[in-house]
Every structure is written in C-alpha cells, then in structure tokens.
Amino acid sequence: MRSFTAAMPQVTPTDLQLGWDGTLEEQQADALIAWSEALIGKLNANYGMRKRAVRCVIEMVQNVSKHQGAGRFEMFYANDLLVLRTRNHVSDAEKPHLEQALSDAFAPPLEQVREAIKTKLVEGERTPSGGAGLGFMDLRSCAEDNLCVEFIPCGQETSTFVLCVWFHI
C-alpha cells in the first residue's frame, strides 16, 4: 500500500474541474458520475483511457456513497494529468476492515492483478455492499498502479481516508 508521500502528483485548486463535498448518497453519486463522464469525454485521450477513468470515478464515488454516505470527490485536470480524489471519514471500528481490503488489493504485483481479480470473482466472499473486495484491485488495474491512499487521524476514533488515482493523458 502506498501513501501519499510516495508518488502523488501535485495539483492546485485552480486545476479543479469538478468538486463535491457533503452528502454523497446514491442520487449525488449518480449525478457526479454523469458530470465526470461528460468532462472526461472532452479530454483529448484515447477511448480506452477515458473509459478507464470513468470506471475509476464509478468505483471511487460509489465507495464513498455505499460505505459512508458523505464525503468529498474532486477531479483535477492540468498539463495532461487527470487526478481523481475522494475523502471520507472512517471510524476506528471500520478502519481494520478497510486496511485489510487495501492490503489484499496491493499484495499482488500489478502484472498479477488481473489473475487476482479472477480468483476473487470465483472465490471471494461477497461483502455486505455486494462486491467481493474487487474495487481497489480494479482501481489498480485501471490506473496501472497510479494510485495512493492515506489515513489521516482526525478527532477521536475517526480518520479521514483519502484515495487518489491519476492518469497521464
């Protein structure tokens, strides 16, 4: 698992193309996905990369809406770099489960992620939210490992979970 200090690209507030902060439930998630898709569709990138970026938006936004119902989503674009970032609160009770999912997702080297996804499809226990721990693996695959995560302690028994994915367009 890589933290932000490792490789996260620098973005500035002026690079922000789309931002949302607050209630993020199914309705808001649907709108954010549609707006992001419209913006990504305008980028001068090949079809495959645009689709991968939209897939990441879907997973990231739904990850927040399914698990927390509130958080922040941001999409930055500048100098042929597309950056997607989510932030949401995670309680200390939830954190170990999330850390385990991340640990599993980051365990195989990138070239073995596709095989690991197949194994999860066959053998993975379904989580209460309907997945099988495939989300982070799919993000790794889509972004070719251009992603990082961080838990930032904030207040008592709570952390802010930050997930960032980027594409060189």
């Binding site: 998630a29 079809y47 897939r55 596709r114 996804i117 197949k118 066959v122 939210s129």
Partner: protein, 124 residues
C-alpha cells in the same frame, strides 16, 4: 412463466429475458450501487427457466460499463447458467477499442465452462 423485460436506466442495463426464444440479453451499463437487488430477480428467473427443462439457452451480454459489484453478479448469473442442464452459449460483445471489455470477456470465458463467442463491434 413470463418474459422478463426491464428498461435500461443510467445505472442499470436493458434486460430482455425471453422464455420462448430461450434467449437472455443484457445491454447498456450495469453500475447500480446495490447490484444484488437488481440481479436477484434475474437469477431467480434464470433458475426457473433452467428448471423448466429447456434444451438450449443463448446469452447476449453487451455492456458498456459494469462496476465491480456487478462483475460478481454477472459471475453468479453465468454460474447459474453453467449449472443448467441445457446446452448454452454466451455472446460477449465489446467495442473494438475497448481492450478491457475484451479481457473481461476472456476472463469469464476462462472461468465458466460454457462456450463463449467474443463479438467485436465497431467503436465510437
């Protein structure tokens, strides 16, 4: 037993499961947050059809996007068809520029013991 037809939405695919034709079609995008809720009626319908003693089942999957939650549900659907005693075939459609959708089809084909036909379509 009646046909199962569900109109597509921004988040869920068009579903056309036809009894007499023994043909199941999913098309559009499958990115609902609650994929189990969406797919459970499809799984139940398929199980009932299989139990009716059909001889052949044709499946057409033409998805633009699917989230990881749906990928597990697709797996469940294909598993159910695999367990059906009838002959079956899956037609998996992908756009010519969409290498990821081709790979997804290849991955399901490698897992599920049903003949898969990977069908390339013209891209955007």
């Amino acid at each position: 037993m009646e046909d199962l037809i569900i109109e597509r939405t921004a988040m869920t695919p068009y579903v056309e499961f036809l009894v007499l034709d023994c043909k199941l079609t999913l098309s559009g995008r499958s990115i609902p947050e609650n994929s189990i809720q969406f797919y459970q009626p499809l799984l139940d319908w398929t199980a009932t059809l299989c139990a009716s003693g059909i001889e052949y089942l044709e499946v057409h999957i033409k998805l633009e996007y699917f989230n990881t939650s749906s990928s597990k549900c697709l797996m469940d659907l294909l598993n159910r068809i695999e367990q059906c005693a009838c002959r079956s075939q899956v037609h998996w459609y992908y756009e010519s520029e969409d290498e990821d959708m081709l790979e997804a089809g290849e991955d399901y084909a490698a897992i599920i013991q049903i003949p898969f036909v990977l069908v390339e379509m013209e891209g955007e």
